[in-house]
Symmetry: C2
Subunit: 124 residues, 2 copies
């Protein structure tokens, strides 16, 4: 656990929402001015491989990262791209019939909601 890795994790936690690698980079840069983008990517990768953070591949835009490991889904705002959380408890099981009737062996799924965030709703 190097200083760089520690600061990257701290800033990701502070960010709260779901920053991209670049947003993490810009935050960390304020504390370690000569940090390199490669270091940010490498550490976000390492942290997610150790199950400490989560990498979110959304259907649009670059990869995002999430320090929260609780089970939840994500909503992406189609106006501004912001990403929010949807507790898994709001989503009923929908996989069982697919598992039963599909000749593929289903191992998981990726679900992302599309919507308009509160901020963009009030803008209009």
């Amino acid at each position: 656990m190097t200083r760089q890795r520690r600061v990257i994790l701290e800033e990701l936690k502070k960010a709260g929402s779901h920053p991209t690698a670049d947003e993490v980079y810009r935050r960390v840069q304020k504390r370690i001015p000569n940090i390199s983008m490669g270091t940010v990517y490498r550490n976000l990768e390492a942290l997610s491989e150790h199950g400490i953070i989560c990498r979110l591949q959304m259907s649009e835009g670059p990869m995002r990262f999430d320090a929260s490991m609780e089970k939840h889904y994500h909503v992406r705002c189609s106006k501004c791209g912001r990403v929010g959380d949807v507790p898994a408890s709001l989503v009923n099981n929908f996989e069982s019939k697919v598992r039963a009737e599909c000749e593929w062996q289903i191992t998981g799924h990726r679900l992302e909601f599309i919507g308009i965030c509160p901020r963009c709703q009030s803008k209009k």
Copy 2:
């Protein structure tokens, strides 16, 4: 509807599965040898904007395209990357509770199953 666009659409339909832009390009190239990659992208884009084809942003790998417009979901093989279809009828409604309880205005979702395709299952 230019010759290029027509051939792109024909080859996409013939391809059956879910080719990437590059695969479409290679197929079309056999009939129009000097076609440009840009033309392929532009036309796949145009066709999908007109609702004639469907562009699939999978969570891994490049964009894929689908000539079938029936409502269905996709499974991606985690071994080989192949993409298959899952009829929408196998998936129960799971969105209503989210719509009701989330302060975002939900407009849709993107769902992708992960699994192992029949071919990779038998390989092992």
